[in-house]
Symmetry: C2
């Protein structure tokens, strides 16, 4: 009983708990028995063939913890089998990445080494096997006549959508975590992040985010270095920014193109670049009349895409437009406040009124954050209501909604100041206020607040545990208890969004406020630490996500860089320096600026077209893989012929 486990499996020693499954504490016993049987059942019988044990707590009287917590593990054999199922790519003996097959297992590098499958991979495989555990002939979940099932329905998804399965998440590995967090953020260093270790522990999706964060920060350094002297020596000569704007333009294009190559290199090394996506199951919240999926032929809820389109175009789009209008309205109120504060200051310039000058900007920055937050809830509700079949399509629609609103909310006032009011001093001032306020808010909201809450919770759990079991060492029990109550990490969405907005501040307006890049670099350095910390200690461990690239965010950043070309050209056109060249005619100036802009845009597209997205040596490796598989196929075919017609 030392581990607090009721071990129902025969090979006690080999059971390493990997995933925690928490059912509602009032779940009926027959449902639990049925679920455990299905999970343990052999694959031939349609089971998941995994090991699963209940976590048993010693008897107690007050504040009983949830008894329905289960630990899921697996035999190595089953994991290898599952690795082939999910199409895992591993390093082959010859150094290339190849799809793992059980038959060829010996030909993979390190197969007989210490760890062939990382924890994150094992947990991903278990998640996949649980997700694809399908109902057989059961009409409903035993004990729950209302929880209808039909052949082929994912059991876990159904239990999840009805609240019987509260959550399932991977366990932290304390040893690995200690090692990782030491090399990641505990020692102060100037070296790169241990991306491979991050990937091993948290999976490819998160590692790519940290890779991007690092790359973006490094890419900003030259800009920050140019920005400092600009700021120090040309403080009042804000018309000297033409050169800076041109640099800005080239930088933002090259930056994104080179990132694609970096990301391809990382993804290739991690084996996700050529990995085929498995068929996506409908998301847990998806509902509709029961029909047949045209692809799999399986029974599945079907929701007509025309209805979804109607919901999107008749409700979501108007709602988003309304919110944008509201955001504009708030912006105009802000400008009124700004004028009002300036007037008061002009009438009676003293310390109190000079502080008052900053008040509207600060209020506006806070209001923006609040509006972003509220809108975010609305967007999630709406996107859920749109009833997307796939998680990926849900995410894309959510990202799009949130992006557009955040963009307008954060940048509308700056555009207004820059191009309608044409007041570069005010622009610089607003930019600084916005940048600094939102950074402080972000760091607090993102890491320190959750950390503080988490610490309080930790103490409570520890106290409870001590009360419960005296001084007995119950590491696993305590750990599971703790992690069950940790917050869930909701994915990289917010982290990317923050970087996207920072990229916007830098690429759109940094020529007016050259210190922007410096501030962003400083922010990102702390961001690496706070993000790393929050991943390791604040949130539950997330399931790894086999990402190939940063997905829709690449598109978002590229769109931003196109807008940056337009904005920078317009700023150049507005600069007194340029105007001095064409003293008599605005028309000529505008025509020249527009021409330059078009040339730059064309150049940008040509550049994006000419720079290959995947580095040469990886292209060769991919071609090799393709070639080998074709050759293998041919060989199989010709031996087949030889056998038939000797």
């Amino acid at each position: 009983m030392q581990l607090g486990l009721s071990v129902s499996d025969s090979d006690v020693s080999s059971f390493t708990p990997l995933v925690v499954l928490e059912l509602a504490d009032d779940t009926k016993a027959e449902a639990i028995t049925w679920l455990l049987n299905r999970i343990r059942d052999k694959q031939q019988n349609g089971g998941a063939e995994l090991l699963v044990n209940q976590l048993l707590f010693p008897a107690q009287d007050d504040q009983k913890p949830n008894p329905n917590v289960f630990l899921v593990g697996s035999t190595l054999q089953r994991l290898l089998n599952g690795a082939e199922d999910v199409g895992l790519f591993k390093e082959f003996q010859d150094g290339t990445m190849r799809g793992f097959t059980y038959a060829n297992r010996e030909s993979f590098k390190d197969f007989n080494g210490e760890i062939f499958l990382s924890d994150a991979e094992c947990q991903y495989i278990i998640k996949h096997e649980l997700d694809t555990l399908r109902a057989k002939n059961e009409e409903h979940v035993p004990g729950y006549p209302k929880l209808k099932l039909y052949p082929g329905k994912s059991v876990v998804r159904r239990l999840q959508s009805k609240g019987v399965l509260i959550q399932y998440f991977p366990l932290h590995n304390k040893e690995d975590l200690k090692r990782l967090s030491f090399s990641w953020y505990k020692k102060f260093k100037l070296s790169f992040q241990p991306l491979d270790d991050i990937r091993h522990y948290f999976g490819e999706g998160l590692a790519l985010y940290f890779g991007f964060l690092e790359y973006f920060t490094f890419a900003l350094v030259p800009m920050a270095l140019i920005g400092i002297p600009y700021y120090l020596f040309d403080w009042e000569d804000y018309d000297k920014y033409v050169l800076f704007a041109v640099f800005n333009l080239v930088w933002s294009t090259v930056f994104l193109e080179v990132w694609k190559r970096c990301s391809a290199t990382l993804a290739y090394g991690w084996g996700t670049l050529s990995r085929k996506k498995a068929f996506e199951e409908p998301r847990a919240g998806f509902h509709g009349a029961l029909g047949f999926n045209p692809v799999t032929g399986r029974e599945e809820p079907v929701y007509p895409s025309s209805k979804r389109q109607l919901r999107i175009y008749l409700v979501s789009v108007p709602f988003v437009l309304l919110c944008l209008y509201l955001s504009f309205y708030v912006m105009m109120v802000y400008f009124d406040m700004e004028f009002w504060a300036i007037n008061i200051y002009n009438e009676n310039p003293d310390i109190a009124t000079s502080i008052l000058l900053f008040v509207p900007s600060i209020i506006y920055a806070v209001v923006i954050e609040i509006m972003n937050l509220l809108y975010r809830f609305a967007a999630e509700f709406l996107t859920d209501w749109e009833n997307h079949r796939l998680e990926s399509s849900f995410q894309n629609h959510l990202v799009l909604k949130v992006l557009v609103f955040n963009f307008v909310n954060c940048f509308a006032s700056l555009f207004y100041i820059a191009f309608v009011m044409q007041d570069m001093v005010l622009l610089r001032q607003s930019l600084a206020t916005l940048l600094i306020t939102s950074q402080i808010l972000n760091q607090v909201m993102e890491a320190f607040l959750p950390y503080w809450l988490q610490r309080r919770r930790n103490k409570k759990v520890h106290k409870r545990m001590r009360r419960l079991m005296g001084d007995k060492e119950l590491p696993l029990l305590g750990q599971v208890q703790l992690e069950t109550e940790m917050n869930t990490y909701l994915g990289t969405f917010d982290d990317y969004l923050e970087q996207f907005l920072l990229f916007g501040y830098v690429s759109l307006f940094s020529c007016v406020y050259p210190l922007a890049a410096v501030l962003v670099v400083l922010n990102n350095i702390t961001e690496v630490y706070s993000d790393a910390f929050k991943m390791c200690h604040v949130f539950k461990r997330p399931f790894s996500e086999p990402a190939t690239n940063i997905g829709v965010w690449q598109l978002a950043f590229e769109t931003m860089s196109i807008i940056a070309v337009v904005t920078n050209c317009a700023l150049i056109g507005l600069s007194p320096q340029m105007k001095a060249y064409f003293p008599e005619s605005d028309t000529q100036l505008i025509l020249i600026v527009v021409t330059i802009e078009h040339v730059l845009l064309a150049f940008k597209f040509i550049l994006a077209f000419v720079i290959p997205d995947v580095p040469k040596h990886i292209q060769v490796n991919l071609a090799k893989l393709e070639f080998d598989s074709l050759e293998a196929l041919k060989k199989r075919v010709s031996t087949h012929f030889l056998k038939k017609e000797p």
Copy 2:
């Protein structure tokens, strides 16, 4: 001897000649013997396992025809085997398209029907087998110590590059050709072209071209219909074109997006959409030091890509720029001539001088055609000299070079007239002259001239044949003789280029000269007939090309449609109508036009992003295919496990 064949194969009756192989008439006997043996040899021994017979001519004394002409055929078994080799997709019993495998042959629709593999497919398979016939341990071609070989080198490519193999081409099938040409162009009809039959006879690449031609022509009809009243009733009100320009913009975007879907539908039905491209062999002209291909690991000439890049950027790019400069220079000369002619006319206006007014335009149109032709030769030479490894990369570089030059050559003068001279009357006149002249020239150069030459040649061959053999019927012998001397069709390049330029005239400037669309529609209707005719009767039958889409041309057309947005917006801005709205300030007008242009461009990108490139039902079919193959793999894996661990 009736067929004029020396039949060396045992099953005379089954031999259908499909491909003609012509070696130089002084080829050494031992080389011929060796080649024929390699072609006939079993696949296990590295041969192509095809049937090949020499075409024997009766003895004669004068004008001996080339004796080294061979006919290649194949057994059905070998063709089916080859169909799997090249990855042919065929319609399955359930109506979806699947990769053909010999093992599942009975499950394919029409497998036991009259024709499962079309002639074009059989010929494509034979071409593939000939192309991949590789040298074994021969150090050189027997009889030619200088014709070095190394293991893995394509024998046919080597013989071709050294001029021993003069040509190999597929034979026409007289029956099918008669049927096809009747349904295609002989009966006057308003129906669509028989695209499926064209594809059956000529392959997917050419069928897609004719599909595009037809689609483009139909898409132009509404524009032509709007253009006629514009032309008839508003002859002098050339400021009424704002509406027309807007229509133009929307049309050119939607047109290309919808074509992508049409092309995907066609390609899916023809089985090329999901077909994997086989590994590409180096082109015949490719040379370099012997090394190892990093992908296949085979011995192969290797040419460092850095050297190629140097050749491209240090020689080709400057050369192209120089040619562009030259083209500009010629344009300026043309304008000088134009002014000179106008001056003469103004001084002395009579019939002779009024004819003189048209002379510069006509001369310029002819000069443009000549320059295009000369440049084309230079571009081919340069691209060949750049030494591209792959035919596809060679083609892309050639297309790019020719496109840029043709674009500048054809449109520079129009841009100059429109935006520098801002003379809309002259623009309209030049457009009309260019359009009509180049159309007439094209039709003559493309169809009538080759046809006339071909007829002369035909008569000569017929006469010779009659002299040779008296009145004996020798259909095959005569046919091979005739086709050997026909011109080779050089691919769809020129045909697409012509359509590209026509698309340019219409989308860029048709708001100024609304009759452009009408002229292009008329041109394309005759174009269908003349192209069909030239394919059937002027040129050798080409090998079919398994094209998925119109490739680089889609990109070219899309680029043109982006340029069209810019041009049309500028033309709108220049229109007297718009100028009337902003009488006092040009600046405001320009700013508004530029804003509208940006909005339109953004809208265009969003539209391209929102409209899926592949229609829904085909996406479902493709997903189904993917899903089934994954499931099959899984099943294979689990039975494998069951067998191993019972």
